[in-house]
């Protein structure tokens, strides 16, 4: 305690100390969940792979070596080589960048859109709520992959278009979630109190309702990442996502399909990568939900 500066003299530091203490207690509770830690380690490993791809890779992921076509896993090619003799291990490592890029693009665009729409709908209620939520329902009613397919087909294949297409189908659940939270929060006494102090609707939505929706949204986000990876891989598999020669995992499975009986590693290794990463995000999401979900968490 003696380390903490006198809060009267240094309010900024004391405030930071209070926030850090809060975060530490969160981290401690998280560490108690072993499966959550496994998920976190997988996700961190993915981040490390993406960040250090040039160092971790043993070969150039784009350089064909036709003499080593479809080489079996061994000392030279750890996970084997594909039909152009490219090292599958290096392609998986570089592919993690594409996976993360798509996930990040989708999350950065869909979660805030959903959060804002949901918070506004929940805060105002009435006809604003009705209009926003019916629009949301329309998007929810269309099958995810189908809408993404149609969108990519219209805009042309590619990573950014695939991400946009997934976004189009990914935001409605966030809006639903945020609205449900906002409906509870807007009638709570602390929002009433600040409304009585003369706060504008904008102030209430941004500083009071949205922070309370955030934990549900973060939980949903972590779960969604697994789904986004699968959808992106699906689009890659049918040739509407990342285009060759990009080492996107779904596209890699697609090319490996031709050799699945004789050279199983070409399709299996990227499939395994997708499986591990999705599992990691799911485990992480589970652990986050246990800690953050306001409906599971008892009042402290």
């Amino acid at each position: 305690m003696s380390v903490i500066a006198d809060p009267i003299i240094d309010p900024k530091r004391a405030l930071r100390a209070a926030r850090i203490a809060e975060f530490k207690s969160f981290a401690r509770r998280f560490a108690r969940n072993p499966l959550g830690m496994v998920g976190l380690i997988i996700v961190i490993a993915l981040l490390v792979c993406a960040a250090l791809a040039p160092i971790l890779a043993t070969h150039d992921p784009y350089l064909p070596a036709l003499s080593d076509r479809l080489a079996a896993p061994g000392a030279e090619y750890w996970f084997g080589a594909d039909e152009l003799g490219r090292d599958i291990y290096s392609r998986i490592i570089f592919g993690s960048r594409l996976t993360l890029l798509i996930v990040a693009l989708v999350i950065v665009t869909s979660a805030p859109v959903g959060l804002v729409i949901g918070a506004i709908a929940g805060n105002y209620g009435g006809w604003v709520d009705r209009i926003f939520m019916r629009i949301t329902d329309v998007f929810l009613a269309i099958p995810k992959l189908l809408l993404a397919l149609a969108f990519v087909a219209a805009l042309g294949p590619g990573i950014v278009n695939a991400a946009l297409a997934i976004t189009l189908t990914a935001w409605p659940p966030y809006a639903r979630l945020a609205r449900a939270e906002a409906l509870i929060v807007r009638n709570s006494d602390y929002v009433n109190a600040i409304r009585l102090a003369g706060a504008s609707d904008f102030h209430i939505i941004v500083y009071h309702i949205m922070p309370m929706c955030l934990s549900s949204v973060i939980v949903r986000m972590t779960f969604d990442m697994a789904g986004i990876i699968l959808t992106a891989a699906g689009l890659g598999f049918i040739g509407l996502g990342a285009q060759p020669p990009l080492p996107e995992w779904g596209a890699m499975i697609s090319t490996g399909r031709k050799f699945i009986f004789d050279q199983w590693w070409v399709a299996t290794v990227p499939g395994f990568a997708i499986f591990i990463v999705s599992l990691g995000f799911n485990l992480l999401g589970d652990a986050m939900r246990d800690l953050l979900d306001p409906h599971l968490r008892q009042r402290r």
């Binding site: 809060p7 009267i8 309010p11 004391a14 405030l15 100390a17 209070a18 809060e22 709570s188 006494d189 602390y190 009433n192 109190a193 600040i194 409304r195 009585l196 102090a197 003369g198 706060a199 102030h203 009071h208 922070p211 309370m212 009042r299 402290r300």
Partner: protein, 239 residues
């Protein structure tokens, strides 16, 4: 100070308050008492503009609340809520919660005034950096009172200010409120189902039942049992 005339509040088809009138003078402490569902909290919320569907007239400081802006109203009257566990934002440290009304209304020097307010309600300045879940119920209610006082209102509306608290803490909060009323020359309207609280705190009280006012008594009338209505007698006998 507060003038309520023929107030009727509807919640959809049902009537929560029917044709209630009363007035509170400057510096007075006025009590609203009655069983739950009798409409007493609804009156407070309606005065503060939290219920949209009402008729009649409410004047605060001589000004009609319907034509007064919310920020203007905020500086005249503030409210303290019943449940101190629900009335503080769980993600805000205490200092932020108290300073926020001042920031919204662009009052000068909110940091300094937050410390002064904490001192006023009897909490040390370090509490500014605690989260609500680190505080006891009584401490939270003190913080809620400090937040209500942040804009220097002349009127404080108290909605069952002690009913969510331990009996031992109740007296502390009530004494604090009485002391604040003397020091800051405040006008109180207190809602409670507890006649003991009302008779301790209030100069005058109004008894309510089934959305209607039964009668208005002074503290002396209550003490000397000078009561006209049988329902009021029952209420006193029950407490």
């Amino acid at each position: 100070m507060i003038q309520v005339d023929h107030l009727t509040v509807n919640f959809g088809p049902s009537v929560a308050v029917r044709d209630v009138s009363f007035s509170v003078t400057q510096g007075e402490s006025f009590g609203l008492v009655g069983e739950s569902g009798s409409g007493k909290s609804t009156i407070l919320r309606t005065i503060m503009g939290l219920n949209p569907d009402w008729s009649g007239s409410i004047k605060i400081d001589g000004q009609d609340t319907k034509s007064t802006s919310r920020t203007d109203l905020a500086r005249r009257a503030q409210m303290v809520f019943q449940d101190p566990y629900a009335s503080l934002h769980p993600r805000y440290v205490i200092g932020q919660a108290i300073a926020e009304p001042m920031r919204i209304n662009k009052l000068p020097d909110p940091e300094k005034r937050t410390v002064e307010l904490l001192d006023l309600i009897g909490l040390p300045g370090q509490f500014r950096f605690r989260f609500p879940h680190e505080l006891s119920g009584g401490q939270r209610q003190r913080v809620a009172i400090a937040r209500a006082l942040a804009l220097n209102p002349k009127i404080l509306l108290l909605d069952e200010p002690t009913s969510a608290l331990d009996v031992s803490i109740q007296a502390e909060i009530l004494n604090l409120l009485n002391q604040l009323r003397r020091e800051l020359n405040l006008t109180f309207v207190i809602v409670s189902h507890d006649l003991a609280v009302i008779s301790y705190m209030c100069d005058r009280l109004m008894v309510m039942r089934n959305a209607e006012a039964v009668e208005t008594l002074s503290r002396e009338q209550l003490r000397s049992r000078d009561i006209a209505q049988s329902y009021t007698r029952e209420l006193i006998a029950a407490s």
